[in-house]
Symmetry: C2
Subunit: 423 residues, 2 copies
């Protein structure tokens, strides 16, 4: 073929689409084969439930009747799996209404697809979403990819909300003329990405109360991807689903089966309190893909039914706790506290959220970030995790994928760079 092909004219969305900024970093980083990445939110390899998957495939095969799970399913997802998810949610939020509960679920390709469809269903280009500060960067990419924009709620550096700050924030928002463009609120409320924090129930309730007071009763997207990944005990906050201060808000509670089990299997789900909204999201889901892999869903039905899921999750929790401690201790041993670095010790999830001392720029294009890559450790620059007004002195370090031994080395390398920049 010698003919030169024409350049396609892309839509506004097509032009806007960007690979995540961190993908650029990773690409350059691939040149260093000894690099240890605490950047990607990949999950633990040593606790992948291989035996459970094979047993599930065999058990499915041994079922009587036609293997309907190798056939198309529905956009909403398998009824039996939705009944199991309803029982699961009932366990976490016992005061939820139970009647026809399974009809309020949507099963998706990981929880990411729920985030995408939710924003598609709510936001026109130019609209606004209120988010945590910091917030989950892949969600920020969804919002900007769809032409909308994020505004950060006024959290303090400890992840707390204060009434006076919220009052001022909402008043300013109203005066800015942007108020009517706010179409949703997005919270990662348990062991969050990136901060590893959980929203205190009192703060969550206050937020609902003040949004109501300021006539901002817009849909809430509560992302609970890490709720079950606690280390010692669940975080005590109830979901907004059962907090009276949020009762007037249409809500989407977004969760996943794969984060605490196997991310390669990609089955997420969402529970929606509004029937009409759910219907519209299911119609969108139908045009995306007609529904999530029926076989993947059926495998999860099996591992939930036979107890494999419940038995496996505690192993994953123990694994992450050990890995968190490995990285945390390596950073402490490397003298970071003495240099003025600060961070919380998370009680669940997969992330350390490190605050650099003084005016040290840890951002994507800063010297510190490049020095870390040169030293053999890659992190997510914290500036990518802000919906607006990015701060350049934060770092997200994921201990999801590396082993404890690797995390100790990564921590040592990181500390060496931090020491060098402190001089």
């Amino acid at each position: 073929m010698t003919t030169q092909s024409a350049t396609p004219t892309l839509s506004a969305l097509g032009q806007r689409a960007r690979l995540p900024a961190v993908a650029r970093l990773m690409k350059s980083a691939l040149e260093n084969p000894n690099l240890l990445s605490v950047a990607a939110g990949f999950t633990d390899n040593s606790t992948l439930p291989l035996a459970e998957f094979v047993a599930a495939a065999q058990s499915l095969a041994a079922r009587a009747g036609e293997p309907e799970y190798l056939q198309y399913g529905t956009a909403q997802g398998r009824p039996e799996l939705r009944r199991m998810l309803a029982a699961r949610l009932q366990y976490w939020e016992p005061t939820l209404p139970t009647e026809n509960m399974e009809s309020r679920f949507m099963i998706t390709n990981g929880s990411q697809q729920s985030l995408y469809i939710a924003v598609q269903s709510l936001c026109n280009p130019g609209d606004l979403v209120l988010v945590d500060r910091p917030s989950y960067f892949a969600f920020l990419d969804v919002v900007t990819g769809l032409g909308a924009r994020c505004i950060s709620l006024p959290y303090d550096d400890q992840g707390r909300l204060h009434e006076a700050d919220l009052e001022q924030f909402l008043t300013t928002l109203k005066l800015s003329g942007d108020f009517a463009r706010v179409k949703a609120v997005y919270l990662v409320s348990y062991f969050s990405n990136p901060a590893g924090r959980s929203l205190e129930e009192g703060d969550k309730a206050m937020l609902g109360r003040l949004l109501t007071k300021h006539d901002l009763v817009v849909p809430l997207l509560e992302d609970v991807a890490y709720r079950e990944l606690f280390y010692d005990e669940p975080h005590p906050s109830r979901s907004a689903l059962t907090l009276p201060e949020w009762a007037a808000f249409p809500q989407l509670y977004i969760a996943t089966l794969t984060k605490p089990f196997s991310t390669g299997a990609k089955v997420g789900y969402a529970y929606c309190t509004d029937e009409k909204w759910l219907t519209q999201m299911l119609a969108i889901k139908g045009t995306h893909d007609f529904g999530t892999s029926n076989y993947g869903q059926a495998l999860f039905e099996e591992v939930i039914r036979n107890g494999g899921f419940e038995n496996h999750v505690p192993k994953v929790r123990r694994g992450y706790k050990a890995k968190m401690l490995a990285l945390h201790e390596a950073l402490v041993a490397g003298g970071l506290l003495e240099l003025g670095w600060t961070w919380d010790v998370p009680k669940g999830g997969m992330y350390l959220w490190l605050c650099a001392p003084g005016n040290l720029n840890t951002g994507m294009d800063g010297e510190f970030c490049q020095a870390c890559v040169d030293e053999g450790v890659l992190y997510v620059p914290g500036d990518l995790c802000f919906g607006d007004k990015p701060e350049t002195n934060w770092i997200r370090a994921s201990y999801g994928v590396l082993s404890p031994a690797q995390l100790r080395v990564a921590g040592e390398r990181f500390a060496r760079v931090a020491q060098r920049f402190a001089r």
Copy 2:
């Protein structure tokens, strides 16, 4: 919870989203438990590759090393599977350039997701896509769901294109002022949904030539979902990928592994000739879901590697041919030809496309359609399969899911209604 929840304000896209029209039909039809559905494009149950899936799961489990396929993958999809798909496409289109061929693939949740992402990447609301007449209704739903619009190419009733008609069509389009809004061409070029036809190579070449002549070199989406589902031999037309008349067009060749194997496993793929366009589509795919289930892809690697896929596809072909003949012969035996009904005998695929005699209205809201449901047979009203100016005397009858015995009964029921309406 006694508080009444607020009604969410949906985006334009959220408001536009509609369950497929045929879903309404199915809902009402569910009240009749004896109903036989030739409506849904579901696939054959008797040839589902159960043993192949279990063997693949076991074989994956027996691999040395960590089960990386239970971990997150990439938005583009597994490199090994993409190399296999490159070899597969090379077999069908031997003159394609082979260098780095696997880098031009995108793996998706069934081919439907490729259609969705392609239209997202190309069309702003108000834009136009040229489509077959008739065309695949789920694609039409994607286009309208994204706020764009379809215009039918001037096929004759035998599925052929003629130069004079195309000249007139393109001239009219130019004069209408809509020309600049045409952003893509969509063809289902082998054993099409719904017409069961393949586009003759000469017609395909002519279409490329005339679009070029009229300065309409826009991206081509060639949907080949049924190309491998031939009965006796492949259709001889080359893909537009290797036709010189299409060499200047950016192209997306959209296919699936699941249609000829197991629709419940949901792994589709697309091959893109334009690097920049593919990059943008992969960025969109990344925000949708970070990539298709890694485990599902790995299972396909196994069944392709061990020959299970190749061995299975001929069984599926034989099954569909037998089922096509069962339905076809039941309609002939029921006297439909004498009543003036006409249809092609397909050489592949899963659909009969029936043309009713005279002015008989077989549309969604017509009496004939309701009479069929009452008699116990449900079809897809052909009017749903037109991108514009729907005709109301066509029917899509899928023989995908019913057994030959059920198809004979469905054909008899259908013929009884046709006889009644002929009086």
